[in-house]
Symmetry: D2
Subunit: 342 residues, 4 copies
C-alpha cells in the first residue's frame, strides 16, 4: 500500500532532498508540494535535477486538500512552521523538519529562539525525532520534531556514553565541521562560492548556537542532572556532510564498547573499528552514520568522530525514517541508498 504525502516548503534543500529520496521509496507517493512564493511553478523549474519526475505543481498550503494526505513533511523555516502546523487538521500525521518543536520546555524555547512559542500545545505533543532513541514514541506519535543536523551528529557520539556512564559529563567539547547546504538556499554573502570555497571559519562560537538547546535538553535528561557541553561549528567549503570531532574524558575502550553495545543492531549507525576515524565522504548521499573512537596519548581521554549527511540522515532521511515508523512501514524503506562517492 502506498501512502500519500505532502511536502510543505518544497523549495528549499531539505524539501528537494525529501523528493529525491521519496522518488525511489516503495511506500510513499508525493501528492502535494507547497511553496508559497513559487506557487504555480513546476518543481523542475525550482530544482532542475528533479525535472524528470512526475510531480504535482507547487501550490499554496491553503490550496492543499489534506483529506487526501496521509503524512505531511513540513520543511518550512523556523517560526513559520509552528503557525502552519497549528492550522493543519489535528489528526494529520506530521514530521516537522524545523526547529520549532525540538525543545520541550517553553522557557528554553524562548531563550534560544527569542520569542514565546506560538503553539505550546503542539510543542507539548511533539516527539523528538532522533529515531534510534525515540523509536517507540515516534511510532505512536502524530507530530514528530526532526532534530537539528548538528544536534544529531553530537548525540550519536554522546548519548550511549552518557547512558553508560563512561565519560565525565563536565568535560565535553564538540568541534563540528558543517557542509554549507546546512545553511539552506539562502542568499547570504558568506555562502557565496567566491567567499566560502577557499577556506573555513568558525561561527556561533562560545555557546550561542541554537542546537545547544537540544544538547542541553537531551543530555541533561539522560544524565538526570544538568549537562552543558562546549560546541563550536565551522562552515566548510563542501556541500554535504557533517563531521563532529568530540573530545571526551573516559577510558577509550569503554567509550568504544558503549557505542558498540548500543549500535550493534542499528542498520544506519556504523561503528568503525577502534582507532579508525569517520569521514564525511563515506556517508554523503546516504542515511548512514559513521562513528569512530580513538584514544588520546593522554590517558583517560578519547576522541569520537561522527560523520553523517546533514541533508539526509541529519534532516530529510531522518524525517522519512520517522515517517516510515509512523505509517507502519518498514523503518528502512526507501532509505538504503548507498553513499555517492566520489
Amino acid at each position: 500500500m502506498t501512502h500519500s504525502v505532502a511536502i510543505l516548503g518544497a523549495s528549499g534543500y531539505t524539501g528537494a532532498e525529501l523528493v529525491r529520496i521519496i522518488a525511489t521509496h516503495p511506500g510513499l507517493r508525493i501528492a502535494a508540494l507547497t511553496a508559497d512564493r513559487k506557487a504555480g511553478q513546476a518543481m523542475g523549474m525550482v530544482f532542475p535535477h528533479l525535472a524528470h519526475l512526475d510531480l504535482p505543481v507547487l501550490q499554496r498550503i491553503e490550496d492543499v486538500d489534506f483529506s487526501l494526505i496521509d503524512m505531511a513533511f513540513c520543511a518550512l523555516p523556523h517560526a513559520t512552521s509552528q503557525a502552519v502546523i497549528a492550522a493543519l487538521p489535528r489528526d494529520l500525521k506530521v514530521v516537522d523538519l524545523s526547529a520549532d518543536f525540538r525543545l520541550r520546555d517553553p522557557a528554553e524555547y524562548e531563550r534560544w529562539y527569542g520569542k514565546p512559542h506560538a503553539a505550546p500545545d503542539l510543542q507539548a505533543e511533539a516527539v523528538y525525532g532522533l529515531t534510534e532513541f525515540y523509536r517507540d514514541e515516534i511510532r505512536a506519535a502524530r507530530l514528530v520534531a526532526g532534530t537539528g543536523c548538528n544536534a544529531a551528529a553530537g548525540q550519536y557520539a554522546l548519548r550511549p556514553l552518557i547512558e553508560a556512564g563512561v565519560i565525565d559529563l563536565d568535560e565535553i567539547v564538540i568541534d563540528l565541521k558543517a557542509g554549507v547546504s546546512g545553511a539552506g538556499r539562502s542568499l547570504k554573502e558568506n555562502l557565496l562560492h567566491a567567499e566560502l570555497s577557499g577556506g573555513t571559519f568558525a561561527y556561533a562560537a562560545g555557546g550561542t548556537h541554537r542546537h545547544l538547546g537540544e544538547f542541553d535538553q537531551e543530555f541533561s535528561k539522560l544524565a538526570g542532572r544538568p549537562v552543558r557541553v562546549q560546541f563550536t561549528p565551522h562552515l566548510m567549503p563542501f556541500n554535504r556532510g557533517i563531521l563532529a570531532t568530540v573530545y571526551v574524558r573516559g577510558a577509550p575502550e569503554a567509550v568504544h564498547a558503549a557505542l558498540a553495545a548500543r549500535y550493534d543492531a542499528e542498520v544506519f549507525l556504523h561503528l568503525l573499528p577502534f582507532g579508525a576515524l569517520a569521514s564525511t565522504r563515506s556517508v554523503a548521499g546516504s542515511n548512514l552514520v559513521h562513528i569512530g573512537v580513538v584514544g588520546d596519548r593522554i590517558p583517560g581521554r578519547a576522541v569520537v568522530t561522527v560523520a553523517l549527511d546533514n541533508l539526509a540522515k541529519g534532516s530529510s532521511g531522518q524525517a522519512i525514517q520517522n515517517a516510515n515508523l509512523m505509517l507502519g512501514l518498514e523503518e528502512t524503506a526507501g532509505l538504503m541508498l548507498a553513499p555517492v562517492f566520489p
Copy 2:
C-alpha cells in the same frame, strides 16, 4: 528472479559506481568482486562508503567460479581488459567498460591505442554500447563495449542531427568540460586537489583524444561518409559530470526538432525547452542526460549543450542499462535514482 553478477576490477571508480547502483537494483546480486592487487581485502577497506553493504571479499579473477555468474562487468584498464575477457568462458555475458572493444576496425584500434588488438575475434563480436542507438543488438549480444563517457556526451548531441540531415557535417566543434573522476583513481600530479581545484585547462587538444576514434566510427557510419569533428576536452575542478558544448551549423529549430523527435520516448534522455541550457548539477548521481539547444545570433548556427554523469550514464549506469537488456530485465531496473543536489 535475481541474476548473479561479477565485477572485475572493482577497485576503481567505475567499479565502485557499479556497486553503488546495484545496491538498490531489484534484479542483480553481486556474487564476486575482483581486484588483483587488493585480493583478500574487504570492499569497505578500498571504498569506505560501501562498507555497510554485504559484499564478497575482493579476490583474484582466476579464483572466481564463473559457472555461478550470469553477467560479468569488466571495469579493468584499457588493454588489460581484452586479455582478461579473452580468458573468460565464451558463453559468459560481459559488459566491458574499457576502451578495448569500442572500435570495430582493427586498424583504427591500432591507430588510436598504439598497438594491435590482442583479441580481434572478440572485437568483431562486441556490440557498441550506446544503449538508445543499439538497443536491439545489445539485447542479443554476449559482449557489449561500453562507450567512452565523453563519446557518449557528444553522440547524444549529434547522432539525431546527423541522422536527420539538419547540420553541416564538416563544421562540428565539441568543447567538453569533464569532471575529474573520469580520469580514474590514478596517482597523477595534475589530479591532486592542490593542483586542480583552483582552475581549469584543456588537454588532448587538437584531435588527439582517443574518444575521437569513437566519434569518427559512429558519425561516419551514420552519415555514410567520413565525418571528422573537432574535440577539445577540459579537466574540471568537480568530481562528477560532463558538459559538452557542441557548435553546429543548421537551423536551430530544426536541430531542436530532430532531437525532440528522436528522444521523445527515451526515459533517460531529457530534451530541455528550446533556448534552455544543460547543467551538470541537474544530472549528477543519476542515469539522466539533459540536452539543450540554443540558436546563435549568427543565422544558421546552433549550440547544443549536453550534461551527463560520467560515472553513471557515461559509464557504470550505461553498463547496467545494457546488462538489463542482455538479461531480459526491464531496461530501467535499478536506474531510476534521482540526481543528488546540492
Copy 3:
C-alpha cells in the same frame, strides 16, 4: 613621487583587488575609498583580508575632496558609473572598470545595455583600455574604459591574428570558462557555493553576452569590415581565472607566429611554445596572460587557449597598468606580483 588615488565603489571584488595590488605599489597611495551604503565603515569590516592595511574609512563619493586626488578608479556597477563620472571634476584622471565607456557607438551601447547612454560626451572621450593595443592613446587619455574581462581574454587570442590576416574572420568560436568572481559580490542563487561548486553550465549562450559588443567593435575596426564571433561563456566552480578556448581557421604555425611577433616584447603576455596549452592556475593572482596554440588534426584549423585572472589582468590589474601610463609611471609598477599557486 607618490600619486594619491581614490577608489570609487571599493566594496566589490574589483575594488578589493585594486587595494590588494596598490598595497605594494611603489607609486600609488590610497587617499579615498567610497562605498555609499557602507560609508563610515572600515575597509577591514567589508573585506577582513585588508584589515591590516592603513586605509581611509569608506565614505560617500560626495564627501571626497577630489582636489587632493590624482587618479580615480571607478569600480561601480554599470550605469551607475556614467552618472558618477559625469559629476566628477572634468580634469580628474579616471580609469573606469565598468562597461559604461567601452563601446564607441551610442547605438551599439543602447543595443547591448538596453537604454541610451547618459554621458555621450564622455563616451566619445573615453579610450578603450586594452593596454597593449591602445598604449599611446591611454598615455594621453583622461578617461580610460577598462575592458570586459572576457573581452580581454578573447582579444588577446584574436587581435594579432586579425591584424596579420592569418585566420578566416567568419569562422571564430570562443568557448570561455569564467571563474565566479567575475560575477561580483552579488547575492544570486546560482552563485551560492552549494549551487555552483559541484559542476558547470553555460550562460548567455547564442550571442547574448554583452561582451560581444566589445568583440564586434574591436574586431570589426581591426578588420575594416564587420566581424561577428560566436561566444559561449560557462560559469566555473573556481574563484579566479578565465580560460578562453578559441577555435580558428588558419595555418596553426602562422597563428603561432603572428602571436609571437606581436607579443614578443610584452612583459605580461606570455606565448607558450607551439603545442602547449594555457592553464588558469598559472596566472591566478597575477597580471599575466598565458597563450597557447595547438593545431587541429583537421588541416587549417587551430585552437588558441588564453588564461588570465579576471580580477587582475582582466580588471583591476589592467586598470593599474593603465593608470601607470596615465600618470607617467613605469607601466609595470606594482604589477610584477607572481601568481599564487597552489
Copy 4:
C-alpha cells in the same frame, strides 16, 4: 644590497612559495635552485606559474657553487634535509623548512621521527624559527629550523597565555583544520581532488601527529614543567590555510588581554576584537596571522581561533622573515604582500 640565495629542493610547494615571495623581495636574488630528480629542467616546467621569472635552471645540489651564496633555504623532505645540510659549508647561513632541526632533545627527535638524528651537532646548533619568540637568537643564528605549520598556528594561540599564566596547562585542546597544500606535492590517493574535494576527515588523531613534539618542547619550556596538549588535525578541501580552534580554560578577557599585550607591536600578528573569529580567507597568500578570542557560555572557558597560510607564514614566509633577520635586512622586507581574496 642584494643577497644571493639558493633554494634546495625547489620542486615542492614550499620551494615554489619561496620563489613567489622572493620574486618581489627587494633584498634577495635567487642564484641557485636545486631539485635532484628534475635537474636540468627550467623551473617554469615544474611550476608553470613561475615561467615568467628569470630564474636559474634546476640543478643538483652538488653542482651549486656555495661560495656565491649568502643564504640557503632548504626545502627538502624530512630526513633528507639533515644529510644535505651536514654536507654544506659550515659557515653558510641556512634556513631549513623541514622537521629535522625543530626538536632540541635527540631522544624526543628519535621518538617522533623513528630513528636517531644523523647530525646531532647541527641539531644542537639550530635555533627554533618561530620568529616573534626567538627574534634575537634567530638574528644571531647560522642555522634556523622552520617550525611546523600546524605547530606555528597552535603556538601563536597559546604561548602568550602560558607565559602570562592565564590558562590551565592541563586542559588544552587544539582542533586544527589544515589546507591540503600542507601535505605537499605528493602522489597519495587521499590527496586526489576526487577523494578530498567533497568533505573532510581527521588524521593522526589521538596524539600521534609529529608536530606534537614541537608543542611539547616549547610549551613545557615556557611553563617550566611538562605540558601535554590534545591535538587533532583535519584535512580540508581547500589549498591554503590553517584554522586552529583552541579550547582553553581561563578567563576569556584575560586570555584576550594576554594576547593583546604580547602582539600589540607585531606587524604580522593581528589580534581581532574580543568576540571575533579568525578566518583563513583573510590571510591566504600573505604572511599574516589572525587571532580571535571568544568566551564560552561556561564560565572560565575560552576559544581561541588562529588563521594563517600554511605555505606563507606557516612555512616559506616565516623562512624569509627569519632570513631577513639573519642577513640584517628589515624583518618585513618582501613580506607585506596582501592576502588574495577571493
